[in-house]
Amino acid sequence: MSKKTKKKTTKRKSSKKKWARVDGRKPDELRPLNIESGVIPNADGSAYIEMGRNKIIVGVYGPREMHPKRFSKPNRGVLRCRYHMAPFSVDPRRSPAPSRRDQEISMVITDAIEPALFLERYPRSVIDVYAEIIEADGGTRCASINAAAVALADAGIPMKDLVSSCAAGKYDGKIVLDLGDYEDKKGESDVPVAYLPKIGEVTLLQMEGIMTQEETEKCIELAIEGCKQVYEAQKEALKKKYGMVEEAEEKAEEKEQETGEEETVEEEEEE
């Protein structure tokens, strides 16, 4: 019994002093974020992201010939993003057929990424971006955009900027960053945002819930701050792969010193 009373008093104290989120994060703290590029050998570019417990893999193919042809444009390329959730990514199991939700998200993701590309350079072609949600934990559209941007860069497609995305929302009366599944479902509102950090433009903006105008604007601004943090992680993921290339070159140089074969070095550099 004494334990119980002790607990109560500590609880009261803490609720006055500190307000904590479900997972103990600060209001402006992102979930653990890990991005890896070049994870699908067959794809022209690819990335894998873990944002909280979201697990998403993105493959990029193209620019390549558009099929079916009637969807191609004579004067520019087309970006085609497909957002798809695996049947086992949520509980209970969902049908693998694309839902209306999937279709809408595919559209807004395309809108979010397209401003970063030079599509006018690829007439009659298509760039396909396939995002597969392996596990969903709230904020999958943002995580998909983050991985897709890294995968496009990994594919060597010229970009004006990376696209970084993060949501903010209102949970338990507070404006918080990067809502997890629980906060997303139980919270008052959710504002996913995608941002071009160098250009300073918002390319994805949605909102659902009940918030005043002021709160909404605060959410957008907080989400942009989150996007900037994501941007660093995205650059890191690309540098990591680039770093590996450097390592490979170093190894090749060592090899060259050992064997004196110049041809192998050239091949390595081309890759």
């Binding site: 559209m107 809108d111 397209e114 401003p115 300073g200 903006l205 909102m207 005043t212 909404t216």
Partner: protein, 267 residues
């Protein structure tokens, strides 16, 4: 379409006129076309609204029925919004499964109503886990001349406020029976959507088909009667600066009251 030669010429013409502070049809940048909303004009549906916004013409039908609840909400009623792009409404629309735009229209209107908690879903339950009231809202586009989201959202609100929903009787054997009595649906909020279009540097409301065709992007904002925002949807392969977004939100907050008054006039 916005990159074919014809629409590039069209875009130039439209942006040139916008630069003078007027529109092709003589309107101001932030002026809606004339609204005409007729409610309860269909005998066989519980609620209905016919909306004419300039040449845009949509019919919204509200049907109330009995059905199964979702597993995770055994006592909550179900609200469904569906949009139909009828092939009669535009030369480029064809019969077939709903296009991406039709899906978006339904989902954005749905999101606005749902997020505003327009209906108390828990009050629509009949037999727990077995039977609940289903509210179907069907958006039927009969002529397309731009700005479908605003027209449909105002129509949905008008149709819901004037709907005569049947009263249901639940017997001891948990049989649900439709009675002859009707009652109005109890709406907890009155959300309406305002779409702000970006063409070049100009922000306009209520775009026509031509303006939609040459637009860069748009932001739809749903606002309730207390000035709270309920839903936002940005479309178009273009970025908005934070300042532009704030301007859009201000425009929407201002215009929403105007549209709400028109949508609720038939009440």
């Amino acid at each position: 379409m916005s990159n074919t030669i014809v629409s590039r010429l069209k875009r130039k013409k439209i942006t040139d006129v916008l630069a003078t502070g007027k529109r092709m049809d003589g309107r101001d940048l932030l002026q809606y076309r004339d609204w005409e909303i007729k409610t309860n004009f269909l005998a066989k549906s519980e609620g209905s609204a016919e909306v004419r916004l300039g040449k845009t013409h949509v019919v919204v039908g509200v049907k109330v029925d009995v059905g199964h609840p979702f597993e995770d909400t055994p006592d909550a009623g179900v609200m469904m919004v569906n949009a139909e792009y009828t092939p009669a409404a535009h030369p480029t629309w064809e019969p077939g499964p709903p296009s991406d735009d039709a899906i978006e229209l339904a989902r954005v209107v749905d999101r606005g109503l749902r997020a505003a908690e327009i209906l108390d879903m828990e009050k629509l339950g009949l037999v727990s886990g077995e039977k609940v009231q289903m509210i179907f809202i069907d958006l039927y586009v009969l002529n397309y001349d731009g700005n479908l989201i605003d027209a449909c959202s105002a129509g949905a609100l008008a149709a819901l406020t004037t709907a005569d929903a049947p009263k249901f009787k639940v017997s001891k054997e948990e049989e649900v029976e439709k009675t002859d009595k009707t009652e109005k649906l109890k709406l907890k909020a009155h959300p309406v959507a305002v779409t702000v279009c970006k063409i070049g540097d100009s922000l306009i409301v209520d775009p026509t088909y031509d303006e939609e065709e040459v637009k860069d992007g748009r932001i739809t904002i749903t606002v309730d009667e207390n000035g709270n925002l309920n839903a936002i949807q940005k479309r178009g392969a273009v970025g908005f600066t934070v300042d532009e977004i704030k301007k859009c939100i201000n425009i929407a907050s201002e215009k929403a009251a105007e549209i709400r008054a028109i949508a609720l006039a038939g009440e």
